[in-house]
Amino acid sequence: MKTDIILAGVGGQGILSIASIIGDAAINENLFLKQAETHGMSQRGGAVQSHLRISDSEIAADLIPMGKADLILSVEPMEALRYLPFLSPEGYVVTNTTPFVNIPNYPDVDAVLAEIKKQPRFVAIDADKIAAEIGNKRASNVVMLGAATPFLNIEPEKIEAGIAHIFSRKGEAVVEMNRKAFKAGLDFAMANK
């Protein structure tokens, strides 16, 4: 069993914290893992991506080959489209629908969403809105993590445990809020996949 995930977003949006929660859960499950990420110049508001490969047998390359990704998880809609050549014909696109507009020529958002809806398998979720409803806009990452969980081949409980573990230093209220965010994302994906 192998899951190849491309995490996409913009420098500063925190896709690496999503990767580290999934990574923790995978290592606790004794799975093999490789995760390649973008550092350096491209992080200043540029497009960033992380390739995350999880498997029950040893993994060779750090990068996912073209057309082989099982999942594109994007915290921003246009970035979800940038990596389509990597997506396998059976793969899923899971994306946040709130755009991150830091360039003057960001395309028309409806047109971007229309492109996403053309994909054979997708989940489009307004994670920012859901996070705001829960009471913390910054939890939108965790909402996205929840939305991706049905496609990870790791039990949701294991990932939830990872969230509890990572946020425990910040107190029970923060853990609870993130748990809620995670659940909201997960429920949405289960209902809309």
Binding site: I27, T38, G40, M41, A60, D62, K68, M78
Partner: protein, 539 residues
Amino acid sequence: MQKNLFLGVEAIGQGAIDGGISGVYAYPGTPSTEITEFIQESEQAVEKGIRSKWSANEKTAYEAALGMSYAGKRCMVCMKHVGLNVAADAFINSAITGINGGMVLTVADDPSMHSSQNEQDSRFYGKFAMIPILEPSNQQEAYDMVREGFELSEKLEVPVMVRITTRLAHSRAGVIRSEVLAENDMVLPSDPSQFVLLPAIARRRYKGLLEKQELFEKTAKKSKYNTYTKGEDKSFGIIACGIAYNYLKENYPKDDCPYTILKLSQYPVPQKFLDKMAKHCEEVLVLEEGYPVVEEHIKAVFKKDIQVSGRLSGALPRDGELNADLVGKALGKETQLGADVPELVVNRPPALCQGCGHQDMYKSLNEALDKYTKGRVFSDIGCYTLGALPPYKSIYSCVDMGASVTMAKGAADAGLIPAVAVIGDSTFTHSGITGLLDAVNDEANIIVVISDNESVSMTGGQESSALGKIESICTGVGVDPNHIRVLTPLKKYHDLMVETFEEEIAYEGVSVIVFRRECIQAAAKRLRKEKKMKDNPTK
């Protein structure tokens, strides 16, 4: 056994600590930065008192490491590929002096230029210095090679280079640690003259280095990191260097490659393997990250008997990073492409952060230079290099660290006046100071802008060795204190900034204008740290 999820760079930092280093020396540079950061933040390293502060540049780092090795202790020095150019003088000569305590040089190359000015291959430098090179194919090997590299260095009595590339540096995988080796005691070299490269001694040492080449090759032949697997299909042999071995394996997930494979992770290339290959294979494909170093080497060895392919022959692209798809194509495999990228997707280039002080500096610079022809601003490497892109389009050069000051001086010598250099605080101490001294000695008519954000921001906010020292350095170098101006780059001071430019343009001689405002990212990081300290002072 417990696995640690390490980035390649972290595996290297841990390998060095576990290998018994007493110090690490480095200047930050992507993709090598986090090696030193890892050691700086390691509790284990702090407990052991491992020396780990940043150096002013790669040359001072290299020389200090050599000094630590002279005193008998193990040490590592880290840099990015272009940083080795800065340290090259010390590096090449260190192969001739040899070492005392084990010394590992880790260089991180950046094929595809993710954040660099070129994609030079450090294996060339290793070959040039005639020292052994280790090239890990994965994170576990990166850990093991660095940890064991000190012993190898001591055994062969030369520095050993560990060469990695961006992909391995910035990719995470499970790594199993080995026992922690003790630090060496301090002991002076048995033959201290080895470190005195006066011609007579240098000639003797150089001959010694030449004689050792055979030993280096033999060691590489026996290395557990180099493996030769004979294949059933005689038509083809593959030499896979370093991380390229992963891309090969990715194409044969069931380990069913029918061809002969030489996995090459320790250099110099052992001739014995090539002789074997010549017997078994009709054609040899070389997979290597970077320059066609091995391909060129074996082309000469095989002459015309065996067809050699790789980056030179066009089987693989001549530039850029390798990946499993490119390797698959070279092996004649079909790649499966996903859907096309929809046309509406646009590029998202990196940009200065909103509210960054460099922005205000560039706005005033542009206004002050508006009345002159374009092309008068020379710059350097840092966040401020983004001033070359819209909306500022202020700068016209970025060649190497420190080149802004010297290029502006050369252009002014040629009559291009006004000529302006834009340099950062850390770059200024890295290698701007000597250029400024040249300008002062020559009474050059230039304006040096030091855009001081009080941190090394482009690589993630390391401490700048220029902190609190810039004005005194400039005065010390001989700049007239009346023409060292200090400003705060904020919108409300815009007119003052433009005026200051105009005044200094009118002055015939060297002017320095310091724009000082802390990088907002570094400030946020500092505040977070301070808060953490306040909340939990015991940590």
